[in-house]
């Protein structure tokens, strides 16, 4: 991070800088490149002092009061938490809340079952579903055509065919059904909340706390209680998906409504409108675009729950992914994993295109309406014919079996085998170098210092980077972590998160700048980034294990695969957003490419860099539980342990709460740090507020 700017010039303290910073002056062509890098860098000096004092304290006290807890040991607090789950279980016959939730669960089950009979499973006495594959594909393609365009229709059709050709027709449709019902429920519950968040500052503060909680709490912790309330299978899957997918739409749509300019509202208020009129006619329509982004993010978050829902027999593509994992077969897990990516891309592009088209039509564009009506009518007839045929003939109802999915699977397995055999030696070297040179020393400082030393040191660093607000958040969160009896594990997890984030940012700086400077690189890399973000981590567990063995570094690699794409995109977009005049101005003074990047582009994109760090930290943290599955121990293992053994549920819950506290702490510190930099453009601040869903749930 010290490469962000030239050596420190401004040594004023933090508070001083907040007041003295001023809006960026306009850049004249030919002017010298702005020396923005100077501001803010000085924070690294007090931070260095804190770390130096910490190291000295560590040297004299290490090993004392570190509060370690063996992997399968529990404390009284954990057992008390377990009692809560036991109490729920013991009262399940009489608990009135469960009566209600069971009724809701029956409703979900009914919906899913009805839809499954319609398109997936035999609808007795028929030997096949009501609508066969040809009809479903034709209808879906037609919907793509009707709400978006020809291109989207083709994409939808091709995606549906790939579900069947690769051999997962039924699982894919199951996943679509569960995701669809969950997203529909999210909209019903989420939109009123979004309106509340958007129009009421107090409600916003309260609801944000719950949303943070829902997004960072590992799903494994609440899967058992969900089963108690909603039963096994589809209903539990829908509810788990709903919980994880709710926050994005509330946050993003709420933000959109809040952002509607006050002047617009005042102008229309003066016409004497009521609250409802204002909401319906002004606020929601003007926030429409942002609301669609929220819906989009919600859909992707819902899809990322697919594998976890499979842990409680939720139908969908998660089941074959877990089946592949069970027999350690990368290829078998890969194909359904890729289909989840296909589905995500399909839904993402379709909703985006649909909203763009709707906007165009609203503005009077969108082509000749007469022609479009005819196209739609012809398409509708074709789709209905396909539906009719698929109701009448077995081959058009049941997707024919192809072996291509299996062949792709075994080809992937072979490729991965070859790769791990060939590069196994190199990767072991990398692992040992990073572990011994970086991971172990920092872990020693964090986890081997007495807990009160680490506590004070982290709080001091929070103050240095984020001021008073960050200090308060850090103290509250650290106290909570201390209370939950998993301090040592929390420090080990924090260490892995920090190290992984440093590596993520290194990658993001290199690839992000490269992408921003070369359009072809951008085009080539982006699909890979999309895939890295949406493919379930369970798919690449086996390859990373084969390369690195069960270790903390393996968990870090998994974290990087997931977190780097988001950070890379943010850095690339930030650097691209630097005004070309500024870059030109620098060039005219004859600076080298290196100078241009380090003195102009990166410093000016600093808001995006802080945001990328924030997202990197939270994304990596959200992979903690996956880390527990590949030998990283610490909080991730505790969560898995709690999910696996009923007597340890409380320990898993404590670990989950600790992860939430770590996430909130890291988030508040980086946000406070970003707020101190008033030189940020509007873009990053906006992005901070809408915050993408943080991570694949585990």
């Amino acid at each position: 991070m010290s490469t962000l700017g030239p050596p420190v010039a401004d040594r004023g303290d933090v508070a001083d800088r907040v007041t003295t910073s001023s809006p960026r002056p306009p850049v004249e062509p030919g002017a010298a490149p702005p020396a923005l890098g100077d501001k803010g860098v000085s924070r690294w000096v007090p931070a260095g002092v804190v770390v130096a004092v910490w190291v000295v304290a560590w040297f004299f006290t290490r090993g004392q009061d570190t509060l370690p807890l063996p992997g399968v040991a529990r404390t009284d607090l954990h057992d008390r938490l377990t009692e809560f789950q036991n109490w729920l279980l013991a009262g399940r016959e009489t608990n009135p809340v469960m009566q209600v939730t069971n009724a809701i669960a029956d409703f979900f089950r009914g919906c899913v079952d009805w839809l499954q009979r319609l398109v997936v499973k035999p609808s007795f006495p028929r030997p096949v579903p009501e609508i066969g594959w040809l009809g479903v594909t034709a209808l879906a393609t037609y919907v793509g055509l009707a709400i978006a365009s020809w291109r989207i229709a083709l994409l939808v059709g091709a995606s549906f065919l790939s579900f069947g050709v690769l051999g997962y027709w039924e699982d894919s449709l199951d996943l679509l059904i569960v995701t669809g019902i969950a997203v529909a429920m999210v909209v019903v519950i989420g939109m009123p909340l979004a309106v509340l968040v958007g129009t009421h500052a107090g409600a916003n503060r309260v609801i944000t706390v719950f949303l943070d909680f829902m997004q960072t709490m590992p799903t494994f912790v609440y899967l058992l209680p969900i089963v108690l309330f909603f039963g096994i299978g589809t209903s539990a899957a829908v509810v788990a998906t709903l919980i994880y997918a709710l926050p994005p739409i509330v946050r993003i749509a709420g933000f959109g409504i809040r952002e509607v300019p006050a002047s617009t509202i005042e102008a229309t208020d003066s016409a004497g409108q009521t609250y409802w009129q204002r909401l319906r006619k002004v606020q929601v329509p003007m926030a429409r675009r942002t609301i669609i982004v929220g819906l989009n993010q919600t859909t992707l978050a819902a899809l990322s729950m697919a594998t976890l829902a499979a842990f409680v027999d939720g139908p969908g593509l998660g089941q074959p992914v877990l089946a592949g994992l069970r027999i350690n077969d990368v290829g078998a897990a890969f194909v359904p994993g890729v289909l989840i990516v296909v589905m995500a891309v399909m839904l993402d592009r379709t909703t985006t295109a649909a909203s763009e088209r709707a906007e165009k039509v609203a503005r009077g564009g969108g082509g000749n309406p007469a022609v479009r009506r005819i196209t739609l009518a012809v398409g509708a007839v074709a789709a209905l014919v396909a539906v009719y045929l698929s109701r009448s003939y077995v081959t058009l109802a049941e997707f024919p079996t192809y072996t291509i999915g299996d062949r792709v699977g075994s080809a992937v397995s072979d490729a991965v085998d070859w790769f791990t055999d060939t590069f196994g030696g190199v990767t072991a070297g990398i692992k040992d170098a990073v572990t011994n040179g970086f991971l172990n020393p920092v872990q020693s400082l964090l986890a081997e210092s007495p807990w009160y030393v680490s506590f004070v040191a982290i709080a001091a660093l929070a103050f240095v980077f984020g001021g008073m607000r960050a200090l308060v958040s850090a103290v509250v969160c650290l106290s909570g972590i201390r209370y939950l009896d998993l301090w040592h594990d929390a420090m080990i997890t924090l260490n892995m998160t920090l190290v992984a984030t440093v590596l993520v940012m290194a990658l993001a700086l290199v690839l992000g700048v490269w992408m921003a400077r070369d359009r072809r690189v951008d085009l080539g890399i982006r699909p890979l980034l999309d895939a890295g973000q949406t493919i379930p981590p369970f798919v690449y567990l086996i390859p990373v294990l084969a390369l690195f063995g069960p270790s903390r570094f393996t968990a870090i690699v998994a974290g990087i695969v997931y977190a780097a794409p988001a950070a890379i995109k943010l850095v690339a977009d930030g650097v691209k957003g630097v005004s070309p005049t500024t870059v030109e101005a620098g060039r005219s003074t004859g600076q080298t490419t290196w100078q241009e990047i380090t003195k102009v582009q990166l410093p000016m994109a600093r808001g995006s860099l802080v945001l990328a760090t924030n997202q990197g930290l939270l994304y990596v943290l959200s992979m903690t539980v996956i880390g527990g599955l590949v030998g990283a121990g610490a909080l991730g293992f505790d969560v898995v342990y709690g999910f696996s053994r009923s007597e340890a549920w409380g320990k898993g819950a404590a670990a989950g709460l600790t992860i939430v506290l770590l996430g909130v702490m890291l988030d508040r510190i980086t946000r406070a740090a970003a707020d101190l930099r008033r030189d940020d453009g509007a873009g990053p601040r906006r992005a901070f507020n809408v915050r993408l869903p943080i991570g694949p749930p585990t």
Partner: protein
């Protein structure tokens, strides 16, 4: 725009033609099958009804579950619902009727306390051993046992501790703990036997298997918690390290354990209400018993040959009619 229309028409026509061609050269009529189904249904229902079979997440379990399920479906006419669930969730399902059978239980004292008659709510019951015997213990890859045979005695482990060190074990030897689903006393055993080792948990069965596979391939030192019956044993026959023999009561206090794991008779756990019902599948599950070898065969079909669990089970059932008939009596 004109192009769009003609394209639309063309695509529609193309789809229709393709569909007609496809239907003409394949598939019979759905109507006929529907009528057949209706006729069959009116002949009177089966006596089995539904069988909700939990499928816990390991291959050996899958083998047992699908063999019983296949027999129930093909010979008793049951509608078998396989449910992919972890153990805790499965046991919760007995009370609600969502789960009828857990076919391979490795011992869950805490769950028994909650769900068995007596201390718990009585929704689950033990239906006796299912024939498999679980052998849990400390294992090393075969190359290691061959090259250093003395490693198979725990007294000699300290001699090799440094060879077992990894980036995770902080200078001591690494002992690879397992998936937290299994009861493990290794942290206590290591400290009570004064072994210079640190327990590092792999966290999942997949991670343990990959570690042992790699250790055998690259001739690396590795010792860890493992168990059979397990399909992986067919690929890499791990060797068991002898710990002080198990005696009754030596695992009574988890802190003081200094002995080997006992051999575990794997049990069938079923829902009490289901067991009292008149479903014909109750008798089948009651009589079901097979050996570790049997299970390994089916698990091998699934994990080694990549067969689907249904096909693997059907194949074994066909090859072992005599055993299946014994369950049906």
């Amino acid at each position: 725009m004109r192009i769009a229309r003609s394209r639309g028409a063309r695509l529609g026509a193309l789809a229709t033609v393709a569909a007609l061609v496809l239907s003409a050269c394949g598939g019979g009529s759905i109507e006929a099958e529907t009528e057949a189904n209706e006729a069959q249904a009116s002949e009177g229902g089966g006596e089995c009804g539904e069988l909700n079979m939990a499928v816990n997440p390991w291959v050996g379990y899958e083998a047992s579950a699908y063999v019983v399920g296949t027999v129930a479906q093909d010979q008793l006419g049951c509608t078998v619902n396989y449910k992919d669930l972890k153990e805790d969730v499965s046991w919760q399902g007995f009370g609600t009727g969502e789960v009828d059978v857990v076919i391979e239980d490795w011992g869950h004292p805490d769950l028994e306390k909650k769900f068995f008659e007596g201390e718990g709510d009585g929704t689950a019951m033990d239906m006796g051993p299912q024939g498999n015997v679980g052998i849990i213990g400390w294992y090393v890859p075969p190359w290691l046992a061959e090259e250093h045979p003395d490693i198979l005695e725990y007294q000699n482990l300290n001699k090799y501790a440094q060879d077992f060190a990894t980036s995770e074990s902080g200078g001591q030897g690494q002992f690879l703990g397992a998936d937290p689903s299994y009861v493990q006393f290794d942290e206590a055993i290591v400290s009570n036997l004064d072994l210079d080792f640190k327990v590092v948990f792999s966290g999942s069965e997949a991670a343990s298997i990959e570690a042992f596979r790699k250790a055998e391939e690259n001739k690396e030192f590795l010792i860890g918690y493992f168990y059979e019956p397990q399909y992986f044993m067919a690929e890499v026959p791990l060797e068991k390290v002898a710990l002080p023999a198990y005696e009754d009561g030596c695992q009574a206090d988890p802190q003081d354990v200094a002995c080997d794991y006992p051999e575990t008779e794997l049990k069938k756990i079923v829902g009490t209400e289901w067991a009292a019902s008149d479903s014909t599948a109750v008798g089948l599950v009651q009589n079901f018993t097979w050996t570790n070898e049997d299970q390994n065969v089916v698990a091998g079909y699934i994990a080694g040959d990549g067969m689907s669990p249904e096909d693997a089970a059907a194949k074994w059932v066909e090859e072992n009619q005599d055993k299946v008939e014994a369950w049906m009596s």
